[in-house]
């Protein structure tokens, strides 16, 4: 019986990680679902939906030669697939400022308290080692409208965080 797993992989970035892992999964009869794969700092990270007959220990055994050769840490959780249930974002939040502890916590707390469901978040540290800047982009769904989110971010703007809200009005044709 096919079942869905969430495969999480972390390791030092090097060419060929995705190719080696997905080739092994393909040869092992697995089917892939949605994925997020990105280099964070010097690390490569993977969150990958995998559908397979194997249970978690079986999947781990299948991947073991690859994870050992490429020195990757793999973690596997049983999940429900629930594909074809995309939630459409209706607002984008772009935040940037001089990097300091607490930006993500303060911004997301204000947004969550006003009904934002984060669907997609990516962030980068740019600038230089002695003057880092932080950039975060969030696509989310708000039921309560953008005005409430604007009000929630106002106090944070006074502390030097730049936060811009843009409605996402998806055109369907």
């Amino acid at each position: 019986m096919k079942r869905w797993h969430m495969l999480t992989v972390v390791g030092r970035d090097q060419p060929g990680i995705v190719a080696a892992l997905t080739e092994t999964l393909y040869r092992g009869g697995a089917n892939l679902g949605e994925a997020s794969m990105v280099r964070l700092g010097g690390n490569f990270t993977i969150m990958l939906m995998v559908e397979a007959d194997a249970d978690a220990p079986g999947l781990r055994r299948l991947l073991e030669p690859v994870t050992r050769r490429l020195q990757l840490h793999a973690h596997i959780d049983a999940i429900e697939g629930r594909l074809h249930e995309h939630v459409e974002p209706n607002v984008r939040v772009v935040v940037h400022g001089a990097d300091r502890p607490g930006i993500v916590a303060q911004v997301t707390a204000a947004l969550a308290a006003n009904g934002l469901n984060i669907l997609d978040l990516e962030s980068d540290v740019g600038g230089t080692a002695d003057r880092p800047i932080y950039i975060m982009t969030i696509d989310g769904y708000t039921r309560d409208g953008i005005a409430a989110l604007e009000r929630a971010l106002e106090p944070l703007r006074r502390t030097g965080i730049e936060a811009r809200l843009t409605p996402i009005d998806t055109m369907v044709g």
Binding site: H86, P89, I168, V172, G173
Partner: protein
């Protein structure tokens, strides 16, 4: 009037180049009524192109007048349309009635002028901007066998300077 079946990607008919309309007759008017009924029956649909319902002719309908607070030209029937001017660019999110459960970011000209024939064959010119310009460009792409999937940009390209050739 009938609500027609909308073809779904990867149906090969969506990749065809559609042919110009030459006869502005009763059959065309019947088809336009069906195309409009199909668009209005589709949740959230603000445009529809003839090839999406399996008729490879250069016919599209766009009507964004139901969206709040945007400039629009009302209901536009665009037959043999041509974009005669493009200006600026904007990245926005698009979905397609022929591509269920997926949306993505696409760069389009921010303002366009489009020349077309109407249902009676008379020449019409429209100036469109923003959301409406996006809808018109999306629908005209269908006439050339292109889907928004062919024009996706990643979120990291949101602020890219130049997209058009």
């Amino acid at each position: 009037m009938a609500v027609l079946e909308i073809l779904a990607y990867p149906d090969a008919r969506l990749k065809q180049t559609s042919q110009p309309v030459t006869e502005f007759d009763a059959d065309l008017r019947r088809f336009l009524a069906d195309l409009e009924a199909t668009m209005r029956a589709a949740p959230g649909g603000v445009g529809l192109a003839a090839p999406q319902v399996g008729r490879p002719q250069r016919v599209v309908i766009v009507d964004v007048s139901g969206r709040p607070d945007i400039p629009h030209s009302g209901r536009m029937i665009l037959i043999n349309p041509e974009i005669t001017e493009r200006e600026g660019e904007a990245v926005g999110r698009e979905g397609c009635l022929s591509v269920p459960d997926y949306t993505g970011n696409v760069a389009r000209a921010a303002r366009i002028r489009v020349r077309a024939r109407d249902a009676a064959g008379a020449r019409r010119d429209y100036a469109c901007e923003g959301y409406e310009a996006r809808a018109v460009q999306h629908e005209i792409d269908h006439l050339d066998g292109l889907l928004f999937l062919d024009r996706l940009v990643s979120r990291r390209d949101l602020f890219r300077r130049k997209v058009y050739k």
